[in-house]
Symmetry: none
Subunit: 222 residues, 2 copies
DNA sequence: GGCGATCTGACATTGACCTGAACGGACGCG
DNA sequence: CGCGTCCGTTCAGGTCAATGTCAGATCGCC
């Protein structure tokens, strides 16, 4: 899916972009509304992720003007909690959904998936890893034919590995994925969840790289 | 009957729409597959009239993908004479009937009636889920032979699950289905209705996936 | 062996979910 | 018009899975 990200915060923007790219989408990143306008006029997008506070204007006005111009591209609005009053305005102005900052990246993936499902209707793609069959869209897993239930956090963590096979991820990277960027978790949460994943999905699903982080287990070992 | 018309030819489309409306049906008209997808996911239809050549893709692929997604809405394919080879493919892909262009409007009415009769007349296609027999056209359900009465809301919710078996749906998605997307309901309505469905249809009809949503209960557990 | 990193079982807290009950509007009926 | 019934919605309280934390065990490397 082609996604246009309109966000002026460099840190948040980069995180969102990377996650969306990892989800298999192509992302263009505009820092200001004027850039976003140009982008929308020069190429079609399947989804726009729109921050509401931008250096050169209010996101809502932008959204409204696009809608009045007949643009039907789905918009998902990124809004801070204290702008919550804008929420109703946002739905009013024609946004399809909104995400309240700070949001964790799992939340983001879910919204993007929802839009993409609405627009592609494809049967869910299955990822097969040894005895595991993973339905990313449905958040469901079968192990040796039997369905396995993962909780929200477990799923969110596991998904990170499936989306980046062979890639090593540090504990802090994984924490950033499970928890919104600001919130500090100061314990061995990741270790605990890695353990829970191993118990549910087999000890070899995730490989520990001492001192550096974790990665998906090698195929031949499964 | 609610009919979704997917047709990019303005003249033919308008004629079909007018005829169907004259026959007492309500018609939504999509000019492209992406719009059709949107419509199908946002509201239930009793019949889809599908052109095979559309600006953004092949109708047959669309039909196939809907069938694979578990959609059982009846499709009638509109095909030109020179695409006749697609005819077999169409039936293959799960269409219920086809009309060869140019067709006259009587033909159209007849086909629509046929579908509607098939869906309201005697040998209705029944979806069977364990001890449940579901007549989608009639909004009626039998449980272990005894008929069960669902209210409008209950039915509307249950139908969402039957039309998308295996698919996980979040509470907000279900709310969008029960209430026309704009209206905000801020309570546990969905939970309450899930509860009522379980009481009427058996505790296992709907499976809770904590933190993510609900889906139809697994067959083996019924 | 010593040390830091990682694993694991246990546990308190949280919050998602379930359920019974109550309210009020719509509708039909006398 | 008054009454009762049904349906949709909301609320409050209870339940239980999920979560985050910790302490002690274990592991890998020097």
């Amino acid at each position: 899916m082609r996604i246009l990200l309109v966000e002026d915060d460099a840190v948040l923007g980069a995180a969102v972009r990377d996650q969306a790219v990892a989800d298999g989408h192509s992302v263009d990143w505009a820092l200001r509304l004027s850039d976003a306008r140009d982008a929308l006029l020069s190429a079609p997008y399947d989804l726009v992720l729109l921050d509401l506070m931008l250096p050169d204007g209010r996101g809502l006005d932008f959204l409204k003007s696009r809608r009045q111009a007949g643009d039907v591209t789905p918009f998902v609005v990124l809004t801070a909690l204290d702008q919550i009053s804008d929420r109703i305005d946002a739905l009013d102005a024609g946004s399809d959904d909104y995400l309240i900052k700070p949001f964790d990246l799992y939340e983001l993936s879910a919204r993007i998936r929802a839009v993409s499902r609405r627009y592609s209707g494809n049967p869910n793609p299955l990822v097969v890893l040894g005895e595991l069959e993973i339905d990313l869209a449905n958040c469901s897993i079968r192990r040796a034919g039997k369905s396995v239930q993962l909780t929200r956090r477990e799923w969110s963590l596991f998904e990170a590995f499936v989306q980046r096979p062979n890639q090593l991820m540090s504990k802090s990277q994984l924490e950033d994925r499970l928890y919104s960027f600001d919130s500090e978790v100061e314990s061995n949460t990741i270790e605990v969840y890695i353990g829970r994943l191993r118990r549910k999905l087999g000890a070899q699903v995730v490989e520990t790289v001492r001192g550096l982080g974790y990665r998906l287990g090698k195929a031949e070992e499964r």
